[in-house]
């Protein structure tokens, strides 16, 4: 199918383009930018007047809940949510049931995703068997089956010897290890950030040191083993600073921040709103501000949705009993735009955090619209206002702190491999 996307404002951060240029697609690839290639006749023309055309978003963290947790969400519902949000490529966590620690499970997941034919799915494999923190998984086999990195999700990996060896082993093959820095002991029982707000609310708390101690430990092991590590969901000012310094030192580390932590802080818990029960917890105002700055100055590489659909029953309980997590795929774009507007960041720089930069972390030739690239494209309306409510969200997870709030920015068309998968 030959498609022309015309009259749009093309923003391709990787190629430094921000101009009114048409995009020409054929056989699932970009075949022309600005000028149609010779002999090109479009089967379909998408008029993107007054809209932005950019690479499809790449979300480094989206829980699809399959296999095993289908009562929370299914591949069908979550992939619909993804393309509605303009996400053409996403990484899913290994904390399913069973965990993604066997090549067969990974293959099945990729097969299912391919059949649904929406976003590309890049599975993250479990670092240890069953995420039990003891035995290494067959990382080479899992990579052959399609895993792009290995992670321990939110499960504790307290044995530093195991962690050290896992990093060393991954490093042997050049595999990336994605770790959410949280010391299991210091965060035991905690559900909120250890600060003035948790003190008033009487909530068991997770101190900042739970993150910084974990970051310090991992950085030391990176220095020793040379492993590539991606820090997932940085949440504190101190944490960002440590990673900023480590990067200056030249360590092979990257990190991301979730949309929620970019906009919210512990005060937003309000009167015990369990939609704000998140991991890592929403920290203080100064932490939030440091995260916003960090994403701006590049200390933080990538913005992700940390999409975690949770069923209503698991949220309509007292705060401390609620399951942590928020739905996010459909809010990735508007919240990126909101951050950019508030921080006075250019649109190309803002979009880079959800297109070219995540692609770079994945070391994939994605997130850009060069001639020859896969035609993963998003067309969106910058100023379209809409209200976040249960009906409009396609994800099965209706759990978001932004329920009832107005957003600006909505996807009008999503193309994956040259096919329109959402409009």
């Amino acid at each position: 199918m030959k498609i022309q996307i015309k009259n749009g404002r093309l923003i391709d951060p990787a190629n430094n383009i921000d101009a009114k240029q048409d995009v020409f697609i054929a056989a699932g690839k970009i075949v022309g930018i600005g000028e149609a290639p010779d002999g090109f006749t479009a089967n379909r023309v998408i008029d993107a007047v007054d809209k932005v055309v950019c690479p499809g978003f790449i979300d480094l963290a989206a829980r699809l809940r399959e296999p095993g947790l289908e009562y929370k969400a299914t591949l069908e519902s979550e992939m619909s949510a993804a393309v509605a949000g303009g996400v053409t490529g996403l990484c899913c966590m290994p904390d399913t049931d069973p965990t993604l620690d066997e090549p067969g499970l990974v293959e099945m997941l990729r097969y299912r995703a391919k059949r649904i034919n929406k976003s590309h799915v890049y599975p993250i494999g479990a670092l240890t068997v069953g995420l039990g923190g003891q035995k290494l998984t067959e990382m080479a086999e899992l990579t052959d089956a399609g895993c792009i990195a290995f992670s321990h999700a939110d499960y504790p990996l307290t044995d530093t010897q195991v962690l050290s060896r896992a990093l060393a082993y991954a490093s042997t093959f050049g595999f990336s290890v994605w770790l959410r820095p949280q010391d299991a002991f210091l965060s035991k029982g905690g559900v909120a950030h250890d600060g003035e707000v948790a003190t008033r609310m009487g909530l068991p708390a997770i101190p900042t040191s739970a993150e910084t101690i974990a970051i310090a430990t991992i950085l030391e092991l990176v220095r020793a083993n040379g492993a590539r590590v991606h820090f997932c969901r940085v949440s504190s000012a101190a944490g960002v600073q440590m990673i900023r310094v480590a990067k200056k030192e030249g360590l092979p580390v990257t990190c991301d921040v979730a949309i929620h932590h970019l906009h919210l802080c512990d005060r937003d818990l309000g009167y015990f709103d369990s939609h704000c029960n998140l991991l890592p917890p929403l920290r203080g105002l100064r932490d939030r501000d440091a995260l916003r700055e960090g994403l701006k100055d590049g200390a933080i590489d990538v913005l992700c949705s940390d999409h975690t659909p949770v069923d209503d029953d698991a949220k309509q309980v007292p705060f401390g009993e609620a399951e942590p997590g928020a739905t996010g795929l459909e809010l990735l774009l508007p919240l990126t735009l909101k951050w950019a507007a508030e921080m006075k960041i250019s649109l190309p720089d803002a979009l880079a955090t959800i297109t070219s930069k995540p692609a770079d972390v994945l070391r994939l030739p994605a997130g850009r619209l060069s001639v020859g690239s896969n035609a993963d494209v998003v067309v969106f309306d910058l100023t379209h206002g809409w209200q976040v409510n249960r009906e409009i969200l396609r994800s099965q997870g209706k759990n978001t702190p932004f329920l009832g709030l107005e957003m600006e920015g909505r996807v009008t068309h999503t193309l994956v491999s040259g096919q329109v998968v959402y409009e």
């Binding site: 250890d194 003035e196 008033r200 909530l203 708390a205 009167y271 015990f272 309509q316 309980v317």
Partner: protein
């Protein structure tokens, strides 16, 4: 949620969930109303007909005999019908959610829920969920709040000391885990007490507690100097297990209230304790039973204060 969930459209109290954010007038109104109920308790017929025909359901997800009993007495003295439900582990293990339990009981025409729960914030969830006209009283949620205890403690202080604006009050013990302490701090600061101190080891004082408007002391002898009101908090045995404290003996040595330490406070200082007391752990028997102790009157006042709370809520 932007508006204060405790107040209705007219700014009247419709639930009592926490003292935090309550205007001082509402607090004073409760104390004044409670005074009338104290005199009711002193006559032969200790009942008034205010809540006749109304049903008060005591929903205790966390076991408690003392608090539940005082709420029961208070409700009955208002001529209400009282139903006691000790939910505990058995019901949740049957899979019924908190909100399902509340819905089922609302269908049985409950007018008021008195709720105690081990999770901070549970009463807010319930208050958001019940139909208008049903009132929720927080009888203690996790570490967060115990507003009726805070109110009865203020009543007690007002009874003995009259003027809040001249007082120095010290709250001593495990503030970290104490919903009573948090409620007391909110009440004292709202009523204009100029100096509120918290005294305890670092492991038992929560992060940033000074932002609640208190002075932090780790040395009890400093913390007690010149104090008008000494409030001792209960120390639970579990604290010795979580590496927060070594032993009860060492705690008593450093933070227990003895006659000797009490002498550092003003000579007419009163000693309070929300109960139940651990004699020999946070407080010496001689002090607990001594002339400066007002621990027993606290209990009496507690019934009157709860009657005041329930009658104010039920009338709004």
């Amino acid at each position: 949620m932007i508006h204060n969930p405790q107040l209705n459209k007219n700014g009247e109290l419709t639930h009592l969930l926490t003292i935090e954010g309550l205007p001082a007038e509402i607090i004073r109104n409760v104390l004044d109303t409670a005074e009338s109920f104290v005199s009711v308790a002193e006559r032969e017929v200790k009942k008034v007909p205010l809540l006749r025909g109304k049903s008060v359901f005591n929903l205790f997800f966390e076991p408690s005999t003392r608090t539940r009993t005082t709420f029961e007495i208070a409700a009955k003295r208002l001529s209400a019908d009282v139903l006691n439900l000790n939910i505990g582990a058995s019901s949740t293990s049957k899979g019924e959610t908190l909100l399902d339990t509340v819905d089922n009981l609302s269908a049985m025409h409950a007018d008021m829920f008195v709720v105690r729960h081990s999770q901070s914030g549970a009463p807010f969830l319930i208050a958001r969920h019940v139909k208008p006209g049903i009132h929720v009283v927080n009888a203690g949620d996790g570490r967060h709040a115990h507003p009726t205890q805070g109110l009865l403690d203020m009543y007690t202080i007002r009874h003995y000391k009259r003027d809040f604006s001249q007082l120095t009050v010290a709250i001593i013990g495990d503030v970290l885990h104490s919903r009573v302490a948090r409620s007391q701090i909110h009440a004292l600061t709202t009523l204009g007490v100029p100096e509120v101190r918290v005294v305890g080891p670092k492991t038992l004082l929560p992060t940033g507690v000074e932002n609640m408007g208190v002075h932090v002391h780790h040395d009890m002898t400093q913390g007690l100097k010149g104090v008008d009101v000494v409030i001792m908090l209960r120390l639970q045995n579990e604290r010795m297990n979580g590496a927060l404290l070594p032993t009860a003996q060492e705690y008593f040595k450093c933070y227990g209230l003895t006659q000797e330490k009490l002498a550092l406070a003003k000579p007419d200082a009163i000693v309070m304790h929300p109960g139940p007391m651990n004699r020999g752990v946070e407080i010496d028997s001689a002090v607990a039973d001594g002339t400066q102790s007002v621990i027993l009157p606290q209990v009496t006042f507690g019934i009157a204060v709860r009657m005041a709370v329930m009658s104010i809520l039920a009338g709004n």
